[in-house]
Symmetry: C2
Subunit: 243 residues, 2 copies
Amino acid sequence: MTGFVSFIGSGPGDPELLTLKAVDRIKRADAILYDDLSAGPILSFARAGADLVGVGKRAGRPSPKQDHVSRLLVDYALAGGRIVRLKSGDGGLFGRLEEELVALRAHGIGFEIVPGIASPFAAAAAAGIPLTRRLTARRVQFVTGHDASGQLPPDLNLDALADPLACTVIFMGKRTFPALAEMLIARGLPPDTPAMLAESVGTPEARTRRTTVAALAADLAHGIGPKPALIFYGSLAQAEGLV
Amino acid sequence: MTGFVSFIGSGPGDPELLTLKAVDRIKRADAILYDDLSAGPILSFARAGADLVGVGKRAGRPSPKQDHVSRLLVDYALAGGRIVRLKSGDGGLFGRLEEELVALRAHGIGFEIVPGIASPFAAAAAAGIPLTRRLTARRVQFVTGHDASGQLPPDLNLDALADPLACTVIFMGKRTFPALAEMLIARGLPPDTPAMLAESVGTPEARTRRTTVAALAADLAHGIGPKPALIFYGSLAQAEGLV
């Protein structure tokens, strides 16, 4: 009998940020296909004997192609049982979820999607600030810093991104931020717009630094370091105790 | 001794979408100040004897003013013990979190923020679609449909909102959507841009309807009904089985 797939958003990495539903599904899974970022302590909820299969992409190393991941997921599901597809953060936010859904539908495989804590929410909480502010920052936007080729996406909406009254969060954008910041400043974003770099969100190494758009661009032009990061900028609330 | 406040994002209402950390803090709380939307089954995790204090705003009824809520929170914290401030969804997203943080800081009261599942993530998961798509919808934005006076916010970034390649989610926007849609279409958003109305997200009455921007605006101009809702539009993934 064909299996059933639960797509589980595992949050940013801290197992305490798993939902009750996620823990339930992980505990009952016969097989768990996980991304690297969501591994570690979260997998300790799996039952003994469950298949644990790492399929994540890791910066700087050869990694499984998305086609291969989708095919593997279909193969596990066709073999039967309860399959968990663990995705870091929320699987529907820059998680390549659609490709895997399409593959399952093509084979008539049933699934559910369990939302997870997306990393910007964890990063803002750790920094002690809200994402929105009542009178400014009534718009929040999440964007990726690169397209499939690793470059800045060609179809950026610069009017949307150069808005100092929004709270903008860039995923995977350290390398392209210097070029992006130059475009945004040319479009009218003040160089001293508040910015925040949140590295290794949801892990014990999490670190947050307050800065400005221009200063962050200058820093990142000198080197981006190995840690994954989110870049926040725009109308950010102040938080005491943060530099 | 002064108490400690845990701001807890309680998710959209389904207790299974609470995080482990949220459940832990709710179980140990001496007092819980909650919004109406986050009440119900979630409060059943509270220990016997905990003070349960409803401070939520309810559409169409007189509700506590934000100043009053902040003062009440400070009073509870100054009286000591573990205080939980429960906010539906993620407290940092359109949750008036900043005002309460400022009040606590003014009194030197310690706090933590625990992120929660924001309603767009729960709604997209229930509809079986991701928020982002790999080649389109590489930008997701959340906005409010009204300002403090109940009108469309005066400082809307129409270039950001009229973008058919983003996934836009409007909070509390049913009443103002007909006027907004007219402005967006005048700005170039195709009238047949896919849209989705997600009502009563995270509750047993949750319902999702696929439509278009123009058709949804026409519907809502005839009446908005009593249910809270999110409005999605833009590059939305298709989901089989949805009308």
